[in-house]
């Protein structure tokens, strides 16, 4: 069946099976940033934004995303060659080691900050608790998110 959606700002059309999960649709479309990890929505590595809401794309059927806006990490940058502030701060504070959880985590963090521009540390810890990171120990990731929140608040004045 035919699936139409907006993917990272671009209108796209796919031929998919009715029971195909969104993660497969996105990976087949070339978005390797959406990671195969647990397949049942427990690790957050496949997190994408669906009409602005964070979802585990392994738990969403492709057909559910019909006529929706889907955003992955490739689509959160401010422009070609310009990183999102979260990405800049992840680099600056050292928020990634193997990098496998990073795309899903950054998408989730963006959603968190969009909803709560002034999160406490506990807000952040619980807000992204659905994204597992096995490498970093989490400290630097939290610092990167806090720094981004601070910078975004300052930019808004």
């Amino acid at each position: 069946m035919n699936l139409r959606l907006e993917l990272n700002g671009e209108a796209r059309s796919f031929e998919i099976a009715g029971d195909e999960p969104l993660i497969d649709v996105l990976r087949d479309a070339g978005l390797a940033s959406v990671r195969l990890s647990c397949g049942i929505g427990l690790c957050g590595a496949c997190t994408v934004l669906l009409d602005g809401r964070p979802v585990n794309s392994c738990l969403v059927l492709g057909v559910e995303a019909g006529n929706c806006e889907v955003v992955t990490i490739e689509g959160i940058q401010s422009g070609p060659g310009r990183l999102h502030p979260l990405q800049e701060n992840f680099i600056k504070y050292g928020g990634a080691q193997c990098g496998f959880c990073t795309p899903g985590l950054i998408v989730m963090a963006k959603s968190l900050l969009d909803e709560n521009p002034d999160p406490s540390e506990a807000d952040i810890r619980f807000g992204i608790a659905g994204n597992i990171c096995r490498c970093t120990g989490y400290t630097k990731i939290i610092e990167a998110i806090q720094a981004t929140a601070r910078q975004q608040r300052e930019a808004r004045g």
Binding site: C43, G94, A96, G99, I132, T136, G137
Partner: protein, 722 residues
């Protein structure tokens, strides 16, 4: 890091080859069974290929220490999860459907799914030990013990157990550790392709040269006819060591005459490799003034259905259970035991986590008996430079005492030690081992060629910084090549926190040779070669400056070798060229009604010697600590009737953002000329035992790791009844 936050970095699940099929594995659901037949029932989806036991009948057994592993179960399945057949299809969905068309006919056999069952009289013999002992490819140091005891590590120092007659106080205890799952976020993935009788495998692995060797063994090929390319991994922690799914992918590819990629579903990752469950009896004898006299250790390691590195784990765990202390007399029997469980193998901390759980709690058991301060007891006996360890080797560059003092101070040890526990660790580094490196200058840039694989530890950054430091140039003009056994110089493997140290040596020598070649071109003394941006000149003579791009291709090659090893009968010799060392102090709070223990404070100190990349070192150390918290409180592989129950992130709890308490990790640097000490693993083993000792100080000693609320409640009841 840039490629990771922009997601430009690819992993093994992203590797594609033209015409490739997708593979899936049929696994035994029984822990021990004769596999009478596997057949196709019904119609296979179009384009699907099936791999049955008869298709691999001509292949050989393989293994890193003992060739005991078939590509598919050969007549007998030895654990619930053992591969018995496989399929490949044009899409993952077709392969999943094809898998349902396979039917295996099993005849259940008596099971030995635990250490007790495997060691009992009349236990089924899971492998023909006599045959394995004599097999070509079996480690010459293997000492099978009969039955299911694959290997016994023995250590004898002084008069061994007889030396307890010199002790005035003797304590003894038993401790036990559940298995654990590495749970890397990236599942195992491998793509195999044959071309003109030559096999190429893309697989994220910490051990590319070992995988090459094992695949050559399995398919009776020359190693030159096998090529292993290792993309970066999304974490590994030991899960992606030695041959895991590569041989099955290769066999499918050979049958299909097409490339085949397997990406393991998460539940299959859990049964692919585990950390050794283990149990210990430790006896410790001392004089009344607290001076240690003798230690006796009995340890059993559940290595599961196939040996993998089990004998090595039993050995390392054997001397790790001695601890960083002076003893006149030590005796250790550490056994590697086959069971009908998933294979156990390398896991971050490599046997130290389990051994330290027992060893360090035994120290506090003695402290209790003596009425002594656990810190003073440790400082009285801890090894210092010049002391001999139980293997006979002399300690050098040893800083455990300093680590202990620093964490004790930070936790406020002198203000009161109720609820606080200490732990010290010395962990070895793979010895002997060998590393090579090459640095190539071409087109004005340097490329470092090294078989150190990328497991997320900061491999590229560290290699570039090592080269920049050794050459004396800017890291900005240095690149790293990927890992490919056809091109990369040899390295034993990326394990044991050895890579920074070994590559520092190999790259240092490669840089020295390259500087000499540049000096020849400049007709100068190597010491006078000075890099200025992307140019080079003779120091003091800017007129001699030449752009690096103006040289043809030049290269330097270097090797670094560590000798050592232990005598098989006595465990004497060199266990480790140098030691990874650290200490932790943990303060715990317990809710007596729920049994929930919380880490209120955690102070860690690790000795790093010369630090190559400070931010990378801190990240590795933090990650190691959080994994230690997982081992202490949350993580255990669990089974029922030989079936693994913990096969999702719901049953198997890895620490999440909300689970991690505040902690302070100090990385102690060495002085001028200090050695590079790896620290990817050092902190992990510290946390569980420090927690155990903190709980002991509350009258709630714990025998089992991880510590569970139910066990704490039992201990509360027992304490309050006293």
């Amino acid at each position: 890091m840039d490629d990771r936050v922009t997601a430009r970095l690819g992993y093994s699940q992203d590797v594609e080859r033209p015409g490739m099929l997708h593979g899936r594995i049929l696994r035994s659901h029984l822990p021990h069974a004769r596999v009478r037949a596997v057949q196709v029932v019904g119609e296979l989806p179009e384009g699907c290929v099936v791999l049955l036991p008869e298709d691999v009948a001509g292949t050989q057994l393989y293994g890193c220490l003992v060739p005991d592993t078939p590509i598919l179960a050969r007549g007998v399945a030895r654990f619930a999860g053992d591969p018995v057949a496989a399929v490949a299809g044009p899409t993952p969905r077709a392969a999943a459907r094809a898998l349902t068309r396979l039917e295996a006919d099993y005849e259940p056999l008596p099971e030995a799914t635990s250490l007790d069952a495997a060691l009992a009289d009349g236990a089924p013999q899971l492998h023909p030990l006599d045959e394995l002992r004599g097999a070509a490819g079996t480690w010459t140091g293997l000492r099978p013990g009969g039955g299911n005891v694959l290997h016994t590590f023995r250590l004898l120092h002084g008069r061994g157990e007889a030396g307890f007659d010199e002790a005035e106080v003797v304590v003894e205890g038993e401790w036990e550790c559940a298995g654990a799952a590495h749970a890397p976020l990236e599942p195992h993935a491998a793509l195999a392709e044959w071309s003109d009788g030559r096999l190429t495998v893309w697989t994220g692995t910490q051990t590319p040269f070992n995988v090459r060797r094992e695949l050559a063994m399995a398919f009776a090929l020359a190693e030159a006819d096998v090529r292993v390319i290792s993309p970066p991994m999304g974490g590994s922690f030991g899960a992606k060591t030695f041959t895991r799914i590569e041989a099955i992918a290769a066999a499918l590819a050979r049958k299909a005459a097409l490339p085949v990629r397997i990406v393991l579903p998460r539940d299959e990752v859990f049964v692919t490799l585990v950390r050794h469950p283990a149990r210990f009896r430790v006896r410790l004898g001392a004089r009344r003034d607290g001076t240690f006299v003798a230690r006796r250790v009995w340890a059993d390691w559940d290595t599961g259905a196939y040996a993998d590195t089990g004998p090595n784990v039993a050995a390392k765990g054997g001397w790790a259970a001695v601890g960083p202390y002076r003893f006149d007399h030590v005796e250790v029997d550490s056994r590697c035991v086959y069971t009908n469980a998933p294979s156990a193998g390398a896991f971050r901390g490599y046997a130290a986590t389990q051994a330290v759980w027992a060893s360090e709690q035994c120290v506090d058991l003695l402290a209790d008996e003596l009425g002594a301060d656990p810190l003073e007891l440790r400082l009285r006996n801890v090894l210092r430079d010049g002391d001999r360890f139980a293997t006979g080797e002399t300690m050098h560059d040893f800083h455990v005492a300093e680590c202990l003092e620093r964490v004790a101070e930070r936790i406020g040890w002198s203000a009161g030690r109720r609820g606080k526990g200490l732990c010290a660790v010395m962990k070895g580094m793979q010895t002997p081992s060998r590393s090579e490196a090459r640095i190539v200058l071409d087109g004005g840039r340097f490329t470092v060629e090294s078989a150190t694989t990328d497991i997320g530890q900061g491999r590229d950054r560290s290699l570039r910084q090592l080269a920049a430091c050794s050459l004396g140039c800017d890291a900005a003009i240095i690149d790293t090549a990927g890992v490919d056994t056809d091109h990369s110089p040899f390295d034993t493997r990326t394990t044991s926190s050895r890579s920074a140290h070994m590559m520092a040596g190999a790259i240092g020598n490669a840089a020295r040779e390259l500087r000499r070649r540049l000096a020849d071109e400049l007709e100068a003394n190597p010491a006078d070669v000075l890099f200025v941006g992307d140019a080079v000149e003779i120091v003091g003579s800017p007129g001699t400056r030449r752009e690096l791009a103006s040289f043809g291709s030049l290269e330097g090659f270097g090797e670094w070798v560590l000798d050592g090893g232990l005598e098989p009968e006595t465990g004497q010799g060199i266990a480790s060229a140098h030691w990874h060392q650290g200490a932790a102090a943990l303060s715990a709070q317990v809710d007596d009604e729920t049994g929930i223990a919380e880490i209120a404070g955690l102070e860690v100190a690790v000795y790093a010697g010369r630090v190559v990349d400070a931010s990378g070192a801190a990240l590795q150390n933090d990650g190691s600590i959080v994994m230690g918290i997982g081992s202490a409180l949350f993580e255990a592989t669990e089974y029922a009737d030989g079936q693994m129950l913990t096969t999702t992130f719901s049953e198997y709890q890895v620490p999440a953002f909300s689970d991690v308490p505040p902690f302070t990790a100090e990385i102690i640097e060495g002085g001028e000329g200090a050695d590079v000490h790896g620290l990817g693993e050092t902190a992990l083993p510290l946390v569980p035992a420090a927690l155990g000792n903190a709980l002991r100080s509350l009258g709630l000693p714990q025998a089992r790791m991880p510590v569970r609320p139910e066990a704490i409640l039992d201990a509360v009841e027992a304490r309050d009844a006293r």
